[in-house]
């Protein structure tokens, strides 16, 4: 049962990442693209966790945690740059 659920979840997350990539390519404005990339890293966290699930190993937590932290910080940095024209004032 878990195998089938795992395949369905992998397919759904992959489709979600493809849709995010489409929005990042066509996005009419800059915040649209930032939002698309932000959602893409969020989905890639889940994809990495599912990959660890598939291989039955716990070694991929650290990668997921690193992606979460760096993605958040990069989103905040780009938004700060758009707002103020400078990151650290």
């Amino acid at each position: 049962m878990i195998d089938i659920a795992l395949w369905i979840a992998l397919a759904l997350f992959t489709a979600a990442i493809v849709l995010n990539f489409y929005r990042a390519v066509i996005g009419p404005s800059l915040p649209d693209r930032i939002l698309a990339v932000d959602t893409m890293y969020m989905n890639s966290i889940a994809l990495i966790v599912l990959f660890g699930f598939w291989l039955d190993t716990k070694n991929y937590f650290e990668a997921a945690l690193l992606i979460a932290m760096l993605g958040f910080i990069s989103t905040i940095a780009i938004c700060k740059y758009l707002l103020r024209g400078d990151i650290i004032e």
Partner: protein, 130 residues
């Protein structure tokens, strides 16, 4: 018995997480303006990632003792997603992105962008024309 029940819970969590993330990304692709597009992913992908991580946590806790590292990622994602959505909304208001006509609300940052509703005086009675 308990094992098969927990397997059902794990399978439900995985499929629910995938469905949430897919619906959020569908909203990101199909909605009309940025302010509509923002709320889809920022709500649903948080829940999708959370569901997937909790399913994974239950699965690894079945074999060898309790595992709590995934819960750390879940808490981190739940804290940081609203902050990044707030910053994105602020930068969109700063850039004065045009809202769609069906978007509700009228923030003061966009006051100059929206068309002014001017009430024209109706020429009743004292019209100069015959």
């Amino acid at each position: 018995m308990l094992e098969s029940l927990l397997e059902g819970v794990i399978a439900f969590m995985l499929i629910a997480g995938g469905a949430f993330a897919f619906i959020g990304s569908l909203g990101l692709t199909h909605l009309k303006d940025f302010y509509m597009r923002l709320h889809g992913p920022s709500k649903t992908t948080t829940l999708g990632v959370g569901c997937t991580l909790i399913g994974s946590m239950i699965y690894f806790s079945l074999h060898d003792g309790p595992v709590v590292q995934e819960f750390l990622i879940t808490i981190f994602v739940f804290i940081t997603a609203p902050v990044s959505a707030h910053m994105l909304a602020k930068s969109a208001l700063h850039h004065k992105l045009k809202p769609d006509a069906s978007t509700r609300g009228n923030p003061e940052e966009l006051e100059s962008e929206k068309p002014k509703h001017t009430v024209e005086e109706s020429p009743q009675g004292n019209s100069p024309l015959p």
